[in-house]
Symmetry: C2
Subunit: 467 residues, 2 copies
């Protein structure tokens, strides 16, 4: 079978006009008008459907085909006819239709609108709906845009490990990875778990970040990035948290915080433009049915210069807003972490464009962030975007061995766990910086979808590991 | 600091000639010739180094710089001079040198040759050696080649889940993922582990393959692929096995076994050409110091038509070889799985090029492979390549609901675990196929490296989860 994808028909319809082609796909609707039948077929190669025309007089199995239900798989051979007077640019006049697989009548993806909650119980089928077809193609195109952005700039892609014996930064609760039999956990003489019997000979977890290992490679390749799954075992049932999600973490040698922000800004704009160029039908659909401001917001972000403001100035802005009558749920004073309401006020109301907030108090940021000369803030930069709040968290890393050792000691961390990390400062260390982008949060931003469960192919959250 | 990468100097040396540039990188060697000094600098942007010339009379900190040791980080500003009469095409005459980070004298990556075993204990530093710089750049370029190959052909990238409650295909031992406290495992009334108390409310593992979930998306997008980490908790300490490795798994609707092999062959050739085009210096180095036949072999594979032979014919070939005096360690008769010695005989000696072996006995292959009309073989295809043996395993999938249900029952599998998978056959199923490529095995093939521990940034094997 030499089949033509529907995307190819749309891309080169003039060349196919009057030609015999074979297409294969799934039925989205069927109408039987007695002597003529119409099948709307989609093969997943593009968002658009193909209209297939059936002629009772010419098609031997006309009755078989027109009695099929939505979701059935067909192989259709016929002639492509341009139809400049109709809504669709062309249709396929079927000569033969092979019923590859009929859908049983209880097919859950009927044409009527389904709630997203119901569709989450049908994760193996939901990508057949317009909504999820749009979301998961945007996800794929955005992922490739990220790879292309970094590879074109000479970054080396590094697959940092998923299973790890360290806890990276104490960033969150971790999942234990083990081959021990939980029915019969081996014990040491003093009754503790005998980790020497485990696969790796020590307790291991799923990674929460590849950053520290990415730094190993930034110190040889200069510019590197990771793009892989990370994990949090947090019992938080929100629309923005999943137990398993993908992170992008570039790390750059000889890079300071301002350059770090430049790369983050360029990357976001690049990905947005890339998706707008390649997924116009998907964005149109999402703009119509999910988020009416989507396309305008993406266009705005892609063409804005991002604002940059220090945390200290940001607190002053927020306090002034509060004093002028704006109500915040959480307190605003120097030293507190910014809440989503604060972030959104800054980026949506005050600056009206994406905003980097820099130089946060050291006590609310991770140990590896570079201490500023004021001794109380660190060279961090979070990127806030309208409609969502924080989408990127980055920093210049502490490259000074003595300062880093002091910080590890102050925080009561186990220095022996960080020997390798400190080695990077002993042997040709240099100023460097990086950031982390939560990929699902980016996909939510690109699609207007407000629940992380709907941008992950098979989301993992508390109590949910089906499919 | 507006620095220029060394890769840019090589790419556009004419444009930089006589110009003032700033470079930043790490010292690979230093020679002090009394009035002149020479620093070989590498910044990781390309395999090639940059020669920096220091003039005692012009450089204020000449003594400081020339007393530095290998691995130190420098920022050098100076004038680029073309040197058509010397081995290197240009050199940088330093005006200022900033010592960004001196390497302590016990730096483990000295210029002398280190064994690969020793370097495995220095995973945070080993990518600074020529060998690992070559390996990990090839890895990155090959990964992007794979994404590019599939995206250019309209495949949708799907991130299948890492944490899973099913065991995919019983392909291997799995790692348990849990948040239960192993010191105090909760129990049900009858004394068993109370999985309802675990994070996901049931026992969960790390995935061994994303294939079954990829099929969900192939039935809506037509062509999809995964590229992510997979896991095996097997206690096998070989040069070819790791507990954590990356897999590429395309899955294609309306695709038969012959077309599946076409895609696999095209993909391998594409990736090889892509890496040969973009990593010539790296492949030269690997060809000289690791595997003298590497470049010739890659060129041969990229330009060969792959052979295709049925398992039954392959057994006959091997039996004839045995009868003619070729010694195999393992027996050769219809029904046995092929060992690496058999695979290599076929691809290296008999066919002398990459070879697909097809239509294996059903009893040695997975449940989801399509049963052939002979009732005893399945539509599987393994791709064998000279020098390594199996690199790809693929098959057409069983799309017939009744045949698949019978197979699941025959194998004593729990059908309730496969409801979703069977649904794909109930609702518009179609013939489809796919394959799995072990990414590390491909990188080993591309680099000539014979140990999987040396192509993973931080390998995880029995007893090893450091870094």
């Amino acid at each position: 079978m030499n089949r033509t994808k529907i995307a190819s028909l749309y891309a080169g319809k003039e060349g196919f006009a009057g030609k015999d082609v074979t297409v294969a796909g799934w039925v989205r609707s069927i109408r039987d008008m007695k002597n003529f039948g119409f099948v709307v077929l989609n093969d997943g190669s593009c968002f658009k459907d193909l209209q297939v025309v059936l002629n009772r007089e010419e098609l031997a199995n006309y009755d078989e085909v027109t009695s099929l239900t939505v979701g059935s798989a067909l192989i259709v051979e016929g002639t492509l006819a341009l139809t400049p007077d109709r809504p669709q640019p062309f249709e396929l006049k079927a000569a033969t239709v092979v019923v590859e697989g009929a859908a049983e009548p209880d097919y859950p993806m009927q044409k009527k609108r389904q709630t997203r909650e119901f569709l989450r119980t049908q994760q193996h089928l939901r990508s057949r709906t317009n909504l999820f077809r749009a979301v998961f193609r945007v996800r794929s195109v955005a992922a490739f845009a990220i790879h292309t952005f970094f590879q074109e700039r000479g970054f080396v892609y590094v697959n940092t490990p998923i299973i790890t014996a360290s806890d990276a930064e104490g960033a969150g609760e971790m999942f234990r990875v083990t081959t021990l039999d939980l029915n019969d956990v081996p014990r040491t003489e003093d009754g503790k778990v005998d980790w020497s019997k485990d696969f790796f000979g020590k307790p291991c977890n799923l990674t929460v970040s590849g950053q520290l290992q990415a730094e190993n490679f930034a110190m040889s390749f200069g510019d590197v990035y990771t793009f892989g799954p990370t994990f949090r075992a947090e019992d938080s049932n929100t629309r923005r948290h999943a137990a398993e999600f993908w992170m992008v973490e570039p790390e750059m040698a000889f890079c300071d915080l301002a350059q770090d922000m430049d790369v983050a800004e360029d990357m976001l704009k690049y990905v947005i433009r890339y998706v707008m160029d390649r997924c116009p039908d998907e964005l149109d659909m999402l703009n119509r049915f999910v988020d009416k401001g989507l396309k305008e917001r993406l266009e705005h972000v892609a063409s804005s210069d991002f604002a940059r403001v220090s945390y200290t100035e940001a607190i002053e802005v927020l306090q002034a807003a509060r004093d002028a009558g704006h109500e915040f749920e959480y307190p605003v004073e120097w030293g507190v972490d910014l809440q989503t309401e604060h972030e959104r006020y800054l980026t949506e109301h005050h600056f009206g464009r994406p905003t980097f907030v820099t130089d946060y108090p050291a006590q609310i940021k991770a140990f590896y962030m570079r201490l500023n000369d004021d001794g109380r803030t660190v060279a961090a930069a979070d990127c806030l975007v309208p409609g969502i709040g924080e989408i990127i968290g980055g920093s210049q890393r502490e490259e000074r061995l003595d300062v880093l050792e002091r910080r590890i000691e102050e925080l009561g961390m186990d220095e022996s766990q960080y020997k390798y990390y400190l080695d990077l400062r002993r042997y040709g260390g240099c100023h460097h910086a990086g950031f982390g982008l939560g990929f699902e949060r980016l996909v939510m931003y690109l699609t207007g979808i407000d629940n992380i469960r709907d941008v992950l192919p098979h989301p993992r959250t508390v109590g949910n590991a089906d499919f």
